[in-house]
């Protein structure tokens, strides 16, 4: 063996992937020795194991394995940093050509005067090529590896009937590397055809159509999957119908291609027209796909429908508005599918044209990223999805279409109104967006929530919205929902609107009682309710009984709780559902000492510069980037397909980084050879570090690939989870932090959270313009709360959702990656891992800056106005929501209320009469050393961060601590302690920092049995002593 060959062997054995392939090749039934020889020779000639080379080896192995023959004319082209290197394996690697070898004819030079173009004659003009033609096509970028493998490994039973040799030759001669393998779809079609007596006619027609589609630039496999199989299903066994409809659709393609020209959307290699225009029209259930309609003389011909839509489609895309495609995807395409399903061809045409007109209307106004974001397509798409689901459930598509038509009209009306207003106010173009009027946003929130079942509902919505003008700010959406649900006729609506404007809570029975009274009686009743609501909040023992509402105590309490519990994690119907289905309340009463509320004042922050818009942001670039991320996160939560391209982008990023690191490693190796002796060790360490980093990326990427599998559309849940695991990988996260952050949000958030993100206070985020010169206090405070609440929730949601859905082996790998990213041991429980990951993405990366920004915008708080705060412990039904009000990830642990040592303390802002958070107070007997002591422990101080942003956090902390000391004294506790972990102290980082200052250097105690909260999840130990009734322990 020559030295060069030895070196090649060493290189192959040094690479895990290559080594395995080499060994596997030795096990092949035939041709394995030639594959091995080829690998050695090619490695030797290339001077190394380049990534492209490994791909070739894999391809070669797959071909030989699938065909039991070695392709002797294997030839490939490699792109290397040094230029193009062509290796002829026939001459250099495989030796002599044996008799009967499968030889590829050399490429023919195109004849002079050949006109570009093609004949739509299916596979008739395709000449069969040997299988080794795949190599050249692969080298020249006309086919991808997946297709090569698929053709090589195709089952023999399909090869003959489906003329796979010809189809393969068509792929290699006229294909694209973006085409997907056809074999799986052919198998699917075969399952439908196998038992038909004239199956071959169907197959031939399908192959003809596939090849013609391919000649027009569409992927034959996609065409089979999206058009032909639905057509087969539409007319099972009816060849004539299949032939007619597939020909008509093919004609439409031709028309679109001709209209749009080679550069237009929908031209060669563009799947979009196929997916968004053709597939919906040809889909199963579409009336266009039904046999017989074409023969009805009253109907327009299929050609007329398809050609007219095709022309309008092409005209729309010729406008070249940047977001036309985005508008159609997952939004307008549903409408097209809907009309195709139920309408006559004449209506399909009419309404299809109306749809395209609407798309043009919107896309002509959403010309920038900012405007398109304000349009908020995910909310439109979500509303359409809900309508579609309802239509499918009830099999009533007419309603879907009527609502959508009304929706298009409404959107256009609102946009035109906004434009007219801007003109009246003489606002310069570019200084306003037609998609940001409050009415538009409010309407969209309801549309996205599926509130409009009929076109009439939309009209009622606007009536109600106008009727509620001037009502309680921030509650408008809730009130609109109540009216839409509870008042059908106009007179009743007027009454209900008047009631809602007056009364702070809503209950049907209370409303009925109110309605039956005179004007003065109504006022008295409402006044009484107001008083009881306030008493209910401020006094944990207060009764909800109202003398004028006998028997309604319970209903009134539920109404109070619904009004008081404001949480991004809970909708009001969900609150009611929890209360009605069996609410948790403390079994033991609150001790009188704790039921005695403590009041104190906190100074307010007075945000500066917001009104005038003349303020300055200390971290403007960061804020803008963060705002854009949050906006996208909000969109992603409502966009079902958001994650897929990003998963691929992450995968690509892993590949890029891995390749870059490998190159750096190689360069370092070269440097080592030339470096003086003394510097070699350091360089070698550096090289090893680069190798390790590269290995990390490769591992992450191969993990994602292994989960995703080779198909075009891998299983969704594992891919999402794997993508998140990859996103969490430390090194990738550094390079692509925004993607990782968004993944956390997009994959972990549930529907309710998505709803919350679209509502107050987060709606301000969605409405804000990242390019605005100044981002005000309210917006930054909302961003701060969103960062805290949703990132934490999303991480926890990841473990609850995608993670649990993964197979156990993937769980182990994903856990290892998340743990590594979070800097945590793998055996931490999920909640702890989630928290650590949260800190990485939420607290450390962003909250620090947001806090500082709030500090600078809020200005000093000294000498300003103050608010009175009330702290009062409660164990009523209201208090089971302690975690929701505080926006905690442990909110689900409502059963903790039953603990005898736990007292949720309400934080009440007396100025607004709102419940703004909870303090978690524990009072229990603990053994510390030899002493048995009664301890009071602050196990978390959890105000809403959006509320805390407006008050001085040090004032607030000291007020809470003083109140807790007084309670501890009154209860006879020996000391008041605080939890010591930053997150255990408070989810609000501002407050947590102030508390950290307080506990720094304080005595620590470790009770023999540590406090656990929620039970079994978190351990609060050690505890810092904030106050002690006696001197501490003495030694000596």
């Amino acid at each position: 063996m020559s030295r060069a060959e030895e070196l090649a062997r060493e290189l192959i054995e040094g690479d895990k992937r290559a080594k395995r392939l080499f060994l596997d090749a030795g096990q092949l039934r035939a041709g394995g020795d030639r594959v091995q020889a080829f690998m050695l020779q090619a490695t030797q000639s290339a001077g190394g194991l380049l990534p492209d080379l490994l791909s070739y080896f894999e391809l070669l192995y797959a071909l030989v394995k699938g065909t039991d023959r070695f392709p002797f004319d294997a030839e490939y082209l490699l792109s290397t940093p040094r230029g193009e290197l062509i290796l002829d394996a026939y001459g250099n690697a495989a030796g002599q050509v044996p008799a009967g070898a499968d030889l590829l004819p050399g490429p023919e030079a195109p004849g002079d005067g050949d006109a570009p173009g093609f004949m739509l004659d299916g596979l008739d003009s395709v000449e069969a090529e040997p299988i080794s033609g795949l190599f050249r096509a692969f080298a020249e970028g006309r086919i991808n590896k997946l297709c090569c493998r698929a053709f090589a490994e195709a089952p023999a039973r399909l090869a003959g009937p489906w003329k796979l040799e010809l189809l393969r030759s068509f792929y290699t001669a006229s294909g694209s590397a973006r085409w997907i393998p056809p074999v799986d779809d052919i198998a699917a079609a075969e399952r439908r055809l196998a038992k038909l007596p004239d199956a071959q006619r169907f197959r031939d027609q399908a192959l003809r159509a596939m090849a013609d589609a391919g000649k027009m630039g569409f992927c034959p496999a996609q065409y089979l999957r999206r058009v032909l199989i639905p057509l087969l299903d539409a007319s099972p066994g009816d060849y004539a119908a299949f032939e007619r409809s597939s020909s008509a659709v093919a004609d439409c393609f031709l028309s679109v291609c001709a209209e749009m020209g080679p550069d237009g959307d929908g031209s060669a290699n563009n799947l979009f027209t196929l997916k968004a225009l053709i597939a919906p029209l040809a889909a199963l259930g579409s009336r266009l796909s039904l046999p017989g309609w074409r023969d009805d003389p009253a109907m327009p011909s299929m050609e007329e429908v398809l050609f007219s839509l095709g022309r309008r489609w092409a005209a729309l895309f010729k406008k070249r508005h940047p977001f036309t495609r985005e508008l159609l995807r997952s939004y307008a395409d549903h409408f097209l599918a809907g009309i195709a399903r139920i309408e006559t061809p004449r209506e399909v045409l009419r309404q299809g044209l109306r749809l395209l007109e609407h798309v043009e209307f919107v896309s002509g106004r959403a010309l920038t990223d900012a405007d398109f974001q304000r349009f908020r397509k995910p909310l439109h798409a979500r509303g359409v999805r809900l309508l579609l689901a309802r239509a499918e459930r009830d099999a009533r598509y007419a309603n879907l279409l009527r609502v959508l038509q009304k929706h298009f009209d409404t959107v256009e009306r609102l946009v035109l109104a906004a434009e007219a207003k801007a003109i009246r106010e003489r606002r310069a173009p570019g200084r306003y967006s037609p998609f940001s009027s409050p009415e538009y946003l409010s309407y969209l929130r309801f549309f996205a929530a599926g509130s409009f079942a009929t076109p009439g509902d939309i009209e009622v919505f606007f009536d109600v919205l106008h009727g509620l003008r001037g009502a309680r700010e921030g509650d408008t959406d809730d009130m609109v929902s109540i009216v839409l649900e509870n008042a059908k006729d106009p007179a009743e609506r007027a009454d209900l609107i008047a009631f809602l404007k007056e009364c702070p809570v809503f209950d049907r029975a209370v409303y009925a009682a109110w309605r039956g009274r005179s004007e003065s009686g109504r006022s008295e009743l409402v006044e009484g309710i107001r008083g009881r609501l306030r008493a209910y909040l401020e006094d944990p023992l207060a009764s909800t009984a109202h003398p004028e509402l006998p028997g309604l105590d319970d209903r009134l309490e539920i109404a109070f709780i619904k009004q008081l519990v404001r949480s991004a994690q809970l909708t009001k119907p969900r609150v009611e559902e929890i209360l009605v289905s069996g609410a948790v309340r403390g079994d033991d009463p609150v001790p009188p000492e704790l039921a005695q509320g403590k009041r104190f004042h906190v100074r307010e922050r007075a945000p500066s510069g917001e009104e005038e818009g003349g303020g300055k942001n200390a971290h403007r670039d960061f804020l803008r980037a963060r705002l854009a991320l949050l906006k996208e996160a909000i969109d992603s939560a409502t966009d079902a397909d958001w994650w897929r391209p990003r998963a691929k982008a992450l995968l690509a990023a892993a590949g890029e980084r891995s390749a870059a690191l490998a190159e750096l490693s190689r360069q370092t190796e070269a440097l080592i050879a030339q470096a003086p002796e003394g510097e070699r060790a350091a360089l070698e360490r550096k090289r090893r570090g680069l190798e390790e980093q590269g290995a990390g990326f490769r591992a992450a990427a191969s993990f994602l690939r292994s989960v995703a599998g080779p198909g075009e559309e891998p299983p969704e849940v594992p891919l999402k989870a794997a993508a998140l695991a990859l996103a969490c990988d430390k090194t990738i996260a550094k390079a692509r932090f925004p993607d990782a952050f968004l993944f956390l949000l997009a994959l972990g958030l549930g529907e309710e959270a998505a709803d919350a993100l679209a509502s107050e206070p987060f709606a301000t985020i969605a409405e804000a313009d990242p390019q605005a010169p100044f981002l005000g206090f309210a917006l930054v405070a909302a961003m701060r709360e969103a960062s805290t609440t949703f990132v934490r929730q999303a991480v926890a949601g990841f473990f609850e959702g995608p993670f649990k859905a993964m197979p156990p082996s993937y769980q182990a790998q994903a856990r290892a990656m998340v743990a590594a990213a979070a800097g945590s041991p793998e055996d931490n429980n999920d909640a702890m891992l989630a928290d650590l990951a949260y800190r990485r993405y939420g607290a450390q990366a962003a909250n620090h800056f947001l806090d500082r920004e709030l500090d600078s915008l809020g200005g000093p708080s000294g000498g300003r106005a103050s608010r009175e705060i009330l702290l009062v412990a409660g164990k009523r039904r209201l208090d089971q929501f302690y975690g929701f009000v505080g926006e905690l990830c442990i909110a689900q642990h409502v059963q903790e209320l039953r603990r005898r040592d736990f007292f949720p303390v309400r934080i009440v802002d007396l100025a607004s009469g709102r419940l703004v958070g909870y303090v978690h107070l524990f009072v229990y007997q603990a053994r510390i050393g030899l002493r048995q002591l009664k301890l009071a422990v602050l196990g978390g101080v959890e105000p809403k961060s959006s509320w805390l942003a407006y008050v001085d956090e040090v004032d607030f902390h000291c007020g809470v601590r003083r109140a807790a000391v007084e309670w501890a004294r009154a209860l006879g506790a020996s000391m008041l302690c605080s939890a010591t972990g930053a997150v255990a102290m408070s989810n609000c980082m501002q407050l947590s920092r102030a508390m950290q200052v307080d506990i720094e250097g304080k005595p620590l105690v470790e009770p023999e049995k540590p406090l656990s909260f929620p039970q079994g999840y978190w351990t609060l130990s050690p505890l810092a002593v904030l106050w002690s009734a006696t001197s501490g322990p003495r030694g000596g």
Partner: protein, 305 residues
Amino acid sequence: MDISAIPGFLEFLEPGVDRLAHLLAALAGLGVQAKVLGMAGSRHVLVRFKDSAYTDSRRVKTLVAHYDREPGSRGANDNSAAVFQLVALAARLKDRRGRHNVQIVFTDNEEAPGRGSVRDQGSFGLAEGFRKLWKDSSCFIILDVTGRGDTYVLSASGLDLVRKSSAVPPDFVRELEGLHRILAWELAAAGRGEALVLPTPYSDNLGIILGGLPAAAITMLPRDEAYGFGLKLQENPHLRQAFLRPDSETLARMPRDALPLTWKSIHGPSDGIELLTEGAFAAMAALLERVVGMEVPLDLGKVAP
């Protein structure tokens, strides 16, 4: 409580006043016996109570306040307030029964590091003298800048310094930790929680610690200033490092906006009575009473964590 009505306080702030003579007169006026200790060029004032107030089974608690001041400063907060808070305590203790084990020292030349090395500080010589007089049976609690604010601050600087230094014997580090632990508990008990542990500029604790005796310093700050400074320390870890180089430039090295206003106002003409707060005097009186009742074991190194 009217600070300006404390007998002798206003006069003590006058420029050019003989502060030693004035201090001795104030003590004498309250019937407190004191003697001047001349040590290494400094004249300290020692107040010891009757013998029945002391026991050998526990450490003597030496409460210290420097009576000198920076030239050009009126020295109201630095350190006349602490001096008169201890004078008032001495008056309360002179006839008290029981073994409180307290003695008080008013030190000279606290501001010395500005003019020379730490060993020039009066308290360094004092520690050497005390070691000779009472062996190792005393511990020192220094009050400095205690006339303004509502939040007790136990200085972390001395402990941070010895923990960082490899030259300090581990036994002494443990002793100092024990003293801090005891004081931290007392502050928690005295202040209803209004107490923080923060690095502070050095006071007499520096000289005493370098002299080989356990010492801890207590100061007071308004709450906003104390928390504000604590938050800045969290944001900027280098700030804490600055306290580990004890010299006259400690404060000067720090960014001005990082320091509490109270500290910025000392060592200059602005350190007048108008900066002092009555609440600080009341809070210190309460704390000193707890310190009087506090028991410090001889073996400080074994104080339980």
